[in-house]
């Protein structure tokens, strides 16, 4: 049983361990600062497929395949796979893993998918499931054609816009019953289920601004529920707020008396070099935090280079239809607390 603390936070009594992780990216991700840490960089963004949607599905398939292989398991060992993406009806995920025969739960939290998946996997592990997979991915070309314009259309992007990551990440989580005596981390110690926040932003080219209130609500909620401060963590990591969203997050937090600056960074700012790669406000998409987490953060936790990470990924819950109908953009953020060692808890 997970112990509820405060409004929205749960502490796991038998924390799940992240047994393996895999990240795949394409050309632009490979040219970014984290390029060398990806398991695979395929410069061909079609991934050998005939449509962009198939390419995105391939990302799901290949990251899951790689993560399961690195875990030393087979598909039959997985009790459940949680996966999601940004495409209509989540075909990126389902079509990618349809032939694997793993019991499947589709999830949708837009770009918060990775955090939502980790959160759910930790709860399912707490309830007795042994091995679980989590996979999320995004593709620049599928996102553009669904949300914006055809690729070859000659438009200009605004400075607040972000660049959808072509990449994905998958993890295999081991529940308490599947853990070995010398089980390595990282460990999923706690989770906060986010609330939907909407501060009236309607500009779909400024997702960072739309999502910052959700990030602030969940991060501040988690800190308050657990009685911890930003200094209790090595890193407070958001998913794809970009520069605008990160600045707004600091501003919102400071108004509540919490200074996040010394501990916070954002996967959308880590994955690309904004000065060199023309991505405007940073990276975005489900694959952004998934690939940064699986390529760089989880290995750092496993090796003990960072000890405690509060990972809060945000998702903008809009659709092209809602944007055209002039609706504002509701957003959500889910958080999981990851630690390098099982006994090392940021709270008492």
């Amino acid at each position: 049983m997970a112990l509820k603390r405060g409004k929205q936070t749960y502490l796991f009594q038998h924390p799940a361990a992240i047994r393996s992780f895999a990240a795949i990216g394409s050309k632009r991700e490979g040219e970014g600062p984290l390029g060398e840490f990806f398991d695979t960089i395929d410069p061909d963004s079609t991934f050998g497929q005939k449509s962009w949607e198939r390419a995105e599905s391939r990302l799901h398939h290949d990251t899951v395949e790689l993560a399961v292989k690195k875990a030393g398991l087979s598909y039959a060992d997985l009790d459940c796979l949680l996966a999601g993406d940004l495409l209509n009806q989540c075909i990126g995920a389902t079509f990618g893993v349809r032939e694997l025969g793993i019991p499947y739960l589709g999830i949708y939290g837009a770009c918060s998918n990775m955090a939502e998946g980790l959160l759910l996997s930790a709860f399912l592990a707490e309830s007795g499931l042994r091995y679980l997979g989590v996979s999320t991915a995004s593709h620049f070309c599928t996102a553009e054609r669904q949300y914006r314009f055809p690729l070859e259309y000659g438009g200009q992007r605004t400075p607040t816009s972000q660049w959808t990551v072509t990449g994905g990440g998958a993890v295999v989580v081991a529940g308490a019953t599947a853990q070995t005596p010398d089980q390595a981390g990282p460990w999923i110690q706690a989770a906060a289920i986010g609330t939907i926040e909407d501060k009236g932003i309607k500009d779909a080219a400024n997702m960072g601004a739309a999502m910052a209130p959700a990030a602030a609500a969940t991060i501040l909620g988690f800190l308050s529920d657990t009685g911890t401060t930003p200094e209790d963590y090595d890193l407070i990591l958001t998913g794809d707020l970009g520069q605008v969203g990160s600045d707004l997050l600091y501003e919102l937090a400071i108004r509540e008396g919490v200074d996040l600056r010394s501990r916070h960074t954002d996967c959308g700012l880590l994955i690309y070099d904004r000065d060199r790669q023309d991505v405007h406000a940073g990276g975005s998409g489900c694959g952004c935090c998934a690939s940064v987490l699986c390529s760089y953060i989880l290995p750092s936790l496993r090796e003990g280079r960072v000890k405690r990470v509060l990972f809060a990924a945000t998702g903008a819950l809009l659709s092209p239809t809602s944007t055209q109908q002039g609706e504002s953009i509701p957003s959500i953020a889910h958080a999981v607390c990851l630690t390098s060692r099982k006994e090392d808890l940021p709270w008492n």
Binding site: P150, L151, E152, K199, N206
Partner: protein, 147 residues
């Protein structure tokens, strides 16, 4: 968070960088002007080849449209437009790009429901309201103007 929507809107504006018109406007002027100069050159050329003025204008438009479609297909047009903005949007080349890019993009959904149906996704409104406006203008002329 006690912030109201209007307070948050003000905060967002403070942190959201604006476009840089002192860079974008000259670039649009130069590249858009370049396309127009090319058009003028084409008209002069076709006139010298013996085409009457009205046919030379038509031939110029057709040439620019073909060039734009070609550049779109080769993946060059959007690279230029990234810098040019309205400079590549306003001339007839922008219209051609708006037709060809969805036609290419949605080929994966088939020739009927993809290319055929989606080809007008961006340029469609221009046609609808452009043609409607010209019909309205014609009616006004017919009813109130001199024949």
């Amino acid at each position: 968070m006690s912030l109201t929507e209007s307070e948050y809107d003000a905060l967002t504006k403070r942190y959201s960088q604006n476009s840089k018109p002192w860079i974008n406007v000259p670039k649009a002027f130069l590249i858009g002007g370049g396309i127009c100069a090319l058009g003028q050159g084409l008209i002069e050329g076709y006139t010298r080849l013996g085409l009457p003025a009205d046919l030379a204008s038509g031939a110029c438009s057709m040439t620019l449209v073909v060039l734009s479609a070609l550049c779109t297909g080769l993946g060059i047009y959007d690279q230029i437009a990234r810098h040019a903005g309205a400079g590549t949007l306003v001339p007839i080349t922008g219209f051609a790009n708006a037709m060809v890019s969805p036609a290419l993009e949605f080929k994966s959904e088939g020739l009927i429901l993809g290319t055929g149906a989606k080809m007008f996704a961006i340029a469609g409104p221009v046609l609808v309201y452009g043609i409607s406006a010209s019909v309205l203008y014609g009616l006004i002329r017919f009813l109130f103007g001199q024949a």
